[in-house]
Subunit: 79 residues, 2 copies
Amino acid sequence: MKARIHITLKEGVLDPQGKAIAHALGNLGFSGVEQVRQGKYIEIELAETDEARARASLEAMCQRLLANTVIETYAIDIA
Amino acid sequence: MKARIHITLKEGVLDPQGKAIAHALGNLGFSGVEQVRQGKYIEIELAETDEARARASLEAMCQRLLANTVIETYAIDIA
């Protein structure tokens, strides 16, 4: 079972990496870039075949290792 | 117009960051993690309202700045 996890900074948390990308795009001549936010994207291949158990396990992985829940949120998609 | 870009390592390119995550998950007691690949996720807010022009512009951004096309591929979703 394959899962896709998006980890993004919470709304209102400053994203210096996103700002740096927006600035660099401006320097390259791309106009009309209003906002850039960068997050992480993780693909996990699990041996588990039960979707509910896989989701519970992925939730725990996000809470304990993958996301810093003070400043980040995560979204889990199971394919 | 909001675009979501996923940048991932091409198949066959070694992903040490993904391997480190898989190893750490194993150490935390999560079993059944077969493979982990980490990529980047970028949200870009554009002033452009024409989808075709926005897509062309985002393609150029990926080619010139966001992705290292030697080892990475990118996917653009426009919402």
